[in-house]
């Protein structure tokens, strides 16, 4: 019933009626229920919702780390995944981490070295290739993780609250960084967050999920010109509208 297929569809990611149930019988948890979602090439989609809306489950399914209970997922291209924790390998240097990703997709040695240096430059970490992850700050580690994700030459970048553990100032700079990196790369991004302003700051589109089971309850286009600022009036205004919708959904659970 459930299939994960790589197709040449015009859309990069297509979910059709995807459900995911953990466990069985009375204790079963419906993480996702009949979720249908389409992301076109180059589109930046933010997924937002309260706890238990199955955001991370959804990304795992798209990444192929888990199989849906029902429904279909079609992904047209390679997938890279970033988490809240950088997930860097502590025994490798920053450059080594990126080179391993290049090696995993079969790049030759000379190419790996040059490409890793180039990617480090892309995330403004030119001089830090020889540092180990623990010698870098949280924001820098997350940028190495971004460079490593880019090294996978993915068409689809899945991001699971990647900036959730960072302080606000670091996060603002990383938003700029991510904006810049996505420009001209035609990356399709699915970005999960529980920060509404962050979603509006980054997304072309914000998708709101309900909790237990996770269902899509609203979708908002973000018609704000880039470059954007998280504290600008249009961002705050749309974020306010979305927050109201989220609160409405949450109060439903309080009854």
């Amino acid at each position: 019933m459930s299939t994960t297929a790589v197709t040449e569809a015009p859309a990069t990611v297509t979910l059709t009626g995807v459900s995911k149930v953990y466990g069985r019988g009375g204790t079963a948890v419906h993480a996702l229920d009949q979720v249908s979602l389409t992301a076109s090439p180059g589109e930046f989609t933010c997924l937002i919702g309260a706890s238990g809306c199955g955001k991370s489950t959804l990304l795992n399914l798209v990444a192929g780390l888990d199989k849906p209970t029902a429904g279909q997922i079609a992904v047209g291209g390679r997938v890279a995944l970033m988490f809240q924790e950088p997930g860097l390998f502590p025994w490798l240097t920053a450059a080594g981490n990126i080179e391993l990703a290049l090696r995993a997709r079969g790049a030759a040695k000379a190419e790996r070295r040059a490409k890793a240096a180039e990617l480090l430059d892309t995330v403004h970490l030119g001089g830090f290739g020889k540092k180990r992850p623990h010698e870098l700050s949280g924001g820098m580690r997350q940028r190495v993780a971004l460079a490593r994700a880019l090294a996978q030459d993915a068409d689809v970048l899945l991001m699971d609250e990647p900036f959730g553990a960072l302080d606000a100032m670091t996060r603002d700079l990383l938003h700029d960084e991510l904006d810049r990196v996505c420009q001209g790369r035609n990356l399709t991004v699915l970005f999960v967050t529980h920060n509404v302003r962050e979603a509006v700051r980054l997304g072309d589109r914000v998708v709101v999920l309900s909790s237990r089971p996770g269902r899509i309850i609203a979708e908002y286009q973000v018609p704000i010109d880039r470059p954007r600022r998280i504290d600008s009036a249009p961002v705050a205004e749309l974020a306010g509208t979305i927050t109201d919708r989220l609160r409405e959904e949450m109060s439903r659970h309080g009854k």
Binding site: A63, L65, V79, A80, L81, F83, E85, G87, L88, F89, P90, W91, L92, L100, A101, R103, A104, R105, H124, L125, R132, P133, H134, E135, L136, S137, G138, G139, M140, R148, Q152, M169, T170, D172, L173, D176, E177, D179, R180, R226, P227, R228, R229
Partner: protein, 295 residues
């Protein structure tokens, strides 16, 4: 932090963004530097408590000696240490150390080889784990001295193989368990990152699971060494091999001669060797932890 006060979109210019990022990074890393003190200072800091402990032991020993307890058989530190010095001038002690160390190296190397092969198989193959996993732990709890009658009957009395057999049995389970635990406790997040990256089967093991299990594996090696060293000395006391002086032979000879100063001197040698090798593993462990940022 121009973007926070300037009131304009910061993503505007790449130059500006790069400068902001660099400045922010510099501020972030500023408090991380200057932690490591000089080598000599650190060496002294590590050394002086140990020297103090040794001095304390010698003082207490001397005090007991002065009370006259077991005066006839228990020598003071002065007599014993000069005996050790005298023995160190003879070739006998050094040949004994050579023999024992050679057995230790061979036995430990065999144990590492066997432990790694078994550990890797058990960690990878699920049914094998159910069958053999608990047996490895059971083996570990078995006092190695209990194996000697079996080993002597199997290999014949007076054979080095009997000793090595017990050394391997003593050390290999710890090494195998260290590897299995290391593989088991590979952080799931790293496994996920590696899988998404496209690492599969052999490459997943080579580039992710094995390096990730290194610290636990080294801890297993260290424990394995302790077991190997104990089993070896027990073996040399029980399995008497003629015309081949070893530390065990020296001990049993001095016991027969009721030569307490020489006995204690050899014990001190055994203690020192054990400590030296243990601190080598400690050093390896420490350097891995430093590289990984775990200290």
């Amino acid at each position: 932090m121009a973007s926070d006060f300037g009131g304009r979109p910061s993503a505007g210019g790449t130059q500006v963004a790069a400068a902001e990022q660099a400045g922010h990074d510099a501020l972030d890393l500023a408090d991380a530097g200057g932690r490591r003190s000089r080598l000599a200072v650190r060496a002294w800091q590590a050394l002086w408590p140990k020297l103090l402990a040794v001095a304390l032991v010698i003082v207490i020993w001397e005090l007991i000696h002065l009370t006259g307890w077991k005066e006839l058989v228990l020598p003071g530190p002065g007599v014993t240490l000069s005996n050790l010095w005298a023995q160190a001038q003879t070739s006998l002690l050094w040949r004994a150390i050579g023999t024992t160390l050679e057995r230790a190296v061979i036995g430990f190397a065999l144990a590492v080889l066997i432990g790694v092969v078994i550990g890797a198989l058990v960690a990878r193959i699920r049914p094998l784990r159910a069958a053999v996993g608990s047996m490895i732990t059971a083996l570990q709890t078995m006092p190695s001295i209990a194996w000697f009658p079996f080993a002597i009957i199997l290999f014949g009395s007076g054979s080095t193989s009997a000793i090595l057999f017990v050394v391997v049995l003593g050390a290999a389970p710890s090494i195998a368990n260290g590897l299995i635990a290391g593989v088991d406790y590979t952080p799931p997040l790293l496994l996920k990152a590696g899988t998404v990256m496209g690492l599969r089967r052999v490459s997943l093991y080579r580039f992710l699971i094995l390096p990730a299990s290194l610290p636990t594996f080294v801890a297993g090696l260290k424990q394995g060494w302790a077991f190997a060293w104990r089993s070896l000395l027990a073996g040399e006391l029980i399995v008497i091999i003629a015309n081949k002086p070893s530390l065990g032979i020296l001990l049993s000879t001095y016991q027969d001669q009721t030569d307490m100063p020489s006995t204690i001197a050899v014990m001190i040698v055994i203690l020192i060797i054990g400590l030296c090798v243990d601190s080598l593993f400690g050093l390896a462990d420490h350097s891995i932890r430093r590289r990984w940022g775990l200290t």
